[in-house]
């Protein structure tokens, strides 16, 4: 997915941080939390087409 990929330690760090944050947000608020996170990431990405590609990838195999 592009040249800027996470290192394995980096990916592991994100994995733990996201799991911990979902637990911290709680069952009722985790969905809201994840949408906020997605919007912040999209803002940093600054590329609607790349974001759309991420949406398409994430929608696969649900």
């Amino acid at each position: 997915m592009g040249p800027n990929t996470l290192s394995i330690p980096g990916l592991e760090q994100v994995y733990d941080a996201l799991a911990t944050a979902i637990d911290a947000a709680g069952a009722e608020k985790s969905e809201l939390f994840l949408v906020k996170l997605a919007l912040l990431n999209a803002h940093a990405l600054a590329d609607p087409a790349v974001f759309q590609a991420h949406i398409d990838a994430a929608l696969k195999d649900l």
């Binding site: 969905e31 809201l32 949408v35 906020k36 997605a38 919007l39 912040l40 803002h43």
Partner: protein, 567 residues
């Protein structure tokens, strides 16, 4: 037999006047007219006044015997004011309305977005002005009653319409029974529940939204400026939206969204209204301030349009033609532009200057405008009243983010009504120099106003004619151009020539604007003498040239005005 209310409507601030019904027995002459307008709301009234400016008579039928019930349309945009200026009532609105330009969105007690409507120093009118619809109708009715070309018939309701190739036949009901009225053209400006639209069995296209709002006008003394206030997801009305606007005469409009499933009857019960308005006042820090209800109603957001506004001899305008969500002040403000775009074309057709196909341009321009507005309004509406779980999640995520992340703020923007640019209008000239200009209003755009001096603006100098702005430092308009102007005027085309850029009156021009500091030329991207703009009677640009010649002027005028071949 049609029996409109004979008692004045109740209001704590507006003194309703009941007018005498027009009765056919008192007017025994045969009833055949060139133009009949159904509906004396703001759009029908403006259409009648615009037609009269072109010297075209009309009969204006109004089912009721008094002006609108409740304040209804309360926010008028700059472009509406420019249109109202043309029909002579803008000064009244300016004197009595409340101008404003800021909108504020609140979430959890924090202002999360502040909208600032741009105000160009060259503009005469503020971006918005608030005034209750009854007053606007009153000013327009005063102008109509003073105009000998308009016959306003109160208490006359259209019951039936049939049409043939030459016109429409109406059955009009009155307090003493029906009469028959024949007209060459019928303008249907009979509002959101247009009876004529139903009689012709025409279907609106678009979307209706679930969210329903109570609209309430209360008299209350609140120490707040005239700015739009929007409150999202407050504790007293979770998940829903509340809007507030200041109106003249100490009145505030409070709109609040109803919880899903609540019906209108329950929502309008006095105890329900009181509890909710009190809760809203408490939330904004004014608990217990006394207030009195003037008028209330229930509203649901719809974004619908007829796909064509011309149906044989019947022409639709305003809410009869389209239903637009109120959040962007798009109802009356869109309708005025309809009336303005329709009237000059209808006048040209009635006077035999142009053939009926000119009216197709009205439909294509205004249906295009409505579709653009529906697209924009849909975005606001999906934010204000999210239609699905996904849209609600995103909206709630934006509310939450907005407390700390300003980048989401613009999503609160309610995309205010703005004038449509008729970029692809058939009225635009194909052979001009539009693409060469680096500044100024382009093809189909409304004009940019320009301040010429104290209480003196460019649009003050425009009227119902085509306006040729001819930029020159010379002493005279070239003879070849004057010959075209003279030839087309002789055929009935209303055309004025305004020279710009000379200190002395320019020969061949009806008026000369000195533009001593070159500001008008700068705003219009004019680089040298010989440039020109051609504005239609509704002021939209239909051609502009870096160097005007007679052949191209003639072609542009014939095209835009749809002049008959034999002309």
């Amino acid at each position: 037999m049609h029996q409109p209310h004979a008692e004045p409507r109740r209001s704590i601030y507006y003194p309703y006047q009941v007018f005498d019904a027009w009765l056919p027995s008192q007017h025994p002459q045969p009833q055949h007219h060139a133009v009949v307008i159904a509906g004396a709301g703001p759009i029908g009234l403006v259409a009648a006044l615009e037609l009269a400016r072109h010297g075209v008579k009309c009969v204006l039928l109004e089912s009721e015997r008094q002006v609108s019930e409740g304040s209804r349309a309360i926010v008028f945009t700059r472009r509406s004011m420019e249109i109202l200026q043309q029909v002579g009532v803008a000064d009244h609105v300016t004197q009595n309305g409340l101008p404003w330009r800021f909108g504020n969105s609140y979430y959890r007690g924090q202002r999360v977005f502040r909208m600032e409507a741009p105000h160009d120093p060259d503009d005469r009118f503020s971006p918005m002005i608030n005034l209750q619809q009854q007053y606007l109708e009153e000013y327009l009715i005063d102008a109509v009653r003073a105009n000998p070309l308009i016959e306003l018939r109160w208490g006359n309701r259209v019951n039936a319409v049939t049409q043939d190739g030459q016109g429409a036949t109406l059955e009009v009901d009155t307090p003493e029974g029906p009469y028959t009225l024949r007209t060459d053209w019928l303008v249907a400006a009979d509002g959101a529940r247009s009876g004529i639209r139903s009689m012709l069995d025409l279907k609106l296209e678009g979307a209706s939204y679930e969210g329903r709002f109570v609209i309430a006008d209360i008299r209350i003394d609140l120490p707040l400026p005239t700015e739009r206030l929007a409150f999202f997801d407050p504790d007293w009305n979770p998940g829903n939206t509340i809007l507030m606007h200041r109106e003249p005469h100490g009145i505030w409009r409070v709109d609040y969204q109803l919880p899903p499933g609540e019906d209108a009857e329950a929502a309008l019960k006095p105890e329900s209204l009181k509890a909710r308005i009190d809760a809203q006042l408490a939330m904004i820090g004014h608990a217990g301030v006394p207030w009195v209800m003037d008028w209330c109603s229930v509203y649901s957001a719809r974004a619908l349009t007829l796909p064509d506004y011309v149906h044989g001899r019947v022409l639709f305008a305003g809410d009869a033609a389209h239903l637009l969500p109120i959040f962007g002040v798009r109802g009356a403000n869109t309708g005025f532009q309809d009336a303005q775009a329709l009237a000059w074309r209808l006048a040209f057709v009635v006077k035999g200057l142009a053939a009926a196909p000119l009216l197709a341009g009205y439909s294509s321009e205004r249906v295009g405008a409505a579709r653009e507005i529906i697209d924009e309004a849909g975005k606001s509406t999906r934010f204000m009243t999210p239609p699905t779980r996904g849209f609600r999640l995103l909206r709630d995520a934006v509310l939450s983010l907005s407390l700390s992340e300003p980048f989401v703020g613009p999503l609160y923007h309610w995309r205010t009504s703005r004038p449509h640019e008729y970029r692809h209008s058939p009225a635009n000239s194909a052979g001009d120099d539009n693409a060469l200009f680096q500044a100024g209003p382009g093809h189909g755009a409304p004009p940019q106003n320009v301040r010429l001096g104290a209480d003196d603006h460019l649009l003050d100098h425009l009227d119902h004619h085509f306006s040729l702005l001819y930029f020159t430092e010379g002493a005279a308009v070239p003879d070849a151009l004057t010959e075209v102007v003279t030839e087309l005027r002789a055929k009935g085309l209303p055309l004025r020539v305004i020279a710009v850029g000379s200190a002395q009156p320019v020969t061949g021009a009806d008026e000369t604007l000195a533009d001593a500091d070159g500001h008008l030329r700068e705003r219009y991207g004019v680089l040298a003498s010989g440039a020109a703009y051609l504005l239609r009677p509704d002021q939209h640009v239909c051609a502009r040239w870096m160097g005007l010649d007679a052949t191209r002027l003639r072609a542009a005028l014939i095209n835009a005005a749809g002049l008959n071949k034999e002309v």
